[in-house]
């Protein structure tokens, strides 16, 4: 496991979408400068379409058309990305989908997949094809895939959006369980303020056009308080007051 030594440093001086046809050039991000300590759970929140996903794509290396730089704390950090849609390969079973992101022919793979499937509650579904599963189940598989690579940095782009409340809550519990067992740096994008408070140790709000960092605060809640609706609401009111 490649240990991340230093902080993750994200600097985006400017990111624009080029002009298309009759639409003018669109500035998306500007003067975003973040330093993320290893092992912190950073929630990035802001209005829909403000550029949060773009920021994650830049960190993931999926978008290199921007001014700025991303510096990881170590040489070749392992990245995982849980996308807004599960993005599982529909022609591969749940098990194969997870196996594909693992190093080839490692004898410990099978056992690790079994353990991970149990952890996300998919033990009986491993040989199903993703499209035969509910969205909640597909998201469990995507979560398993994201954690099985033991990432140094885990990017999550509204991974629990468009689920009913109990399903989303169950998935958040699974996420916290996995994160407790294997803490890693998380960048979690959401526009759900309650979810932001329940999960994050640090809350970054972005907004404006082009979007930039509006506030950057610590979420000082204990694990127990995060399960308490009242405490979450109080913290939410406090942090989103400005």
């Amino acid at each position: 496991m490649a240990a991340v030594s230093g902080p993750l440093r994200i600097r985006v001086d400017a990111k624009r979408y080029p002009a298309v046809a009759d639409r003018a050039e669109l500035p998306v991000l500007s003067r975003v400068d973040l330093s993320v300590e290893p092992g912190s759970f950073v929630v990035i929140t802001g209005p829909s379409g403000c550029g949060k996903s773009t920021l994650l794509n830049i960190v993931a290396g999926l978008d290199d058309d921007y001014e700025g730089s991303v510096a990881f704390g170590s040489d070749s950090p392992r990245l995982s990305f849980m996308f807004q849609t599960p993005r599982l390969l529909p022609w591969r079973t749940v098990r194969q989908n997870i196996e594909l992101v693992m190093p080839d022919d490692d004898p410990s793979n099978a056992q690790r997949i079994d353990d991970m499937l149990a952890a996300v509650g998919l033990s009986g579904q491993e040989s199903q094809y993703p499209e035969r599963l509910s969205l909640g189940m597909q998201r469990r598989a995507a979560l398993a895939r994201a954690f099985i690579v033991e990432p140094d940095i885990l990017l999550m782009d509204e991974p629990f959006v468009s689920l009913d409340d109990p399903t989303a809550a169950a998935l958040r519990d699974i996420l916290m369980g996995l994160w407790d067992k294997r803490p890693t740096t998380v960048l979690f994008v959401t526009h759900d303020r309650g979810e932001a408070i329940m999960l994050g140790t640090r809350l970054i709000r972005v907004g404006g056009q082009p979007a930039t960092v509006i506030s950057d605060q610590q979420v000082s809640l204990s694990r127990k308080e995060r399960g308490d609706r009242e405490a979450v609401h109080r913290m939410q009111a406090e942090l989103f007051a400005s």
Binding site: A60, G61, L62, L79, S80, F81, F83, T85, R87, L89, P90, W91, R92, T93, R95, Q96, L100, V101, E126, S127, Q128, Y129, E131, R132, R145, V149
Partner: protein, 269 residues
């Protein structure tokens, strides 16, 4: 076609049974419709009462005669070999061209005119030109059929290559799949339906063109036999070879193409 590594992929019960349920009633209908066709044929032959319109029994008789001498199997076999060679060549080259055009925009813009030209070039022209330029040889024959088929395959596969999912491509990139894993697990499965469509249409087109190629410049094969029968006005023999070849093509469809198709689609809901 790359298939997934096989360790856990049991067929899912409900889907399988609904498929066999469907094909059960389908089988009954197919048999009924087949019998109706034969009866209609026999009836018309009886009413027309001409040696130029033989009934099914006369044709079966001709088939048996040709089989007994071994001619039928020989010529059908020769034709089938040409179909196979041209089919695989066209699929291979057409897929490569289609992939390139679907992925590289400049290439697509540049070669689109070429593709339209070859798509609209009459098969007969290609065949004549190949024979004129390369002589009445086996290579010229196969080449003519292949050139006829390549544009169709290319157009179909280009459509597939254009619609490759960017989402899955990004996923493969983030998780460091590398080109080989990406090709086998992300790209080819997305193209599978397009390959299947190209293969289906391809087979039907190729075997018809092969007959023309044989008629014009080969001394064996079903096309050549039809040519001789035409000169002798031997209608039972023409129909005997036609029916024999239809049977062979149907068998290929049933025993090879359909199982491949089912396998490639078993993940669908």
């Amino acid at each position: 076609m790359a298939l997934p590594s096989e360790h856990t992929a049991p067929r899912v019960g409900p889907v399988k049974s609904s498929v066999s349920l469907l094909s059960n009633s389908q089988v009954v209908w197919s048999i009924a419709s087949f019998i109706a066709l034969i009866l209609a044929w026999q009836l018309s032959a009886f009413l027309i009462d001409s040696t130029r319109f033989p009934g099914p029994l006369t044709v079966v008789d001709a088939m048996l005669r040709e089989s007994a001498s071994g001619d039928l199997f020989y010529h059908v076999g020769v034709t089938l070999a040409r179909v196979t060679a041209a089919f695989f060549l066209a699929m291979l080259l057409g897929s490569a061209i289609g992939l390139a055009l679907g992925r590289v925009r400049q290439a697509d813009q540049f070669f689109d005119t070429w593709l339209i030209f070859f798509l609209n070039l009459p098969a007969l022209v290609t065949i004549i030109l190949c024979y004129v330029w390369f002589g009445l040889t086996e290579v010229a024959a196969i080449l003519a059929v292949t050139v006829n088929k390549i544009p169709n395959v290319a157009v179909t596969v280009r459509e597939g290559a254009r619609s490759l999912s960017r989402d899955l491509q990004e996923m493969a990139h983030v998780y460091d799949f590398g080109w080989r894993k990406t090709l086998l697990n992300v790209t080819l499965p997305q193209l599978a339906p397009f390959f299947a469509a190209a293969a289906r249409g391809g087979l039907a087109l190729v075997w018809k063109i092969v007959l023309v190629v044989e008629l014009l410049g080969r001394s064996d094969g079903v096309g050549h036999q039809l040519h001789i029968a035409f000169q002798l006005f031997d209608v039972p023999m023409i129909l005997a070879y036609a029916v024999a070849f239809i049977i062979v093509v149907q068998l290929i469809e049933l025993l090879i193409l359909q199982p491949i198709d089912r396998r490639a689609n078993r993940w669908r809901r």
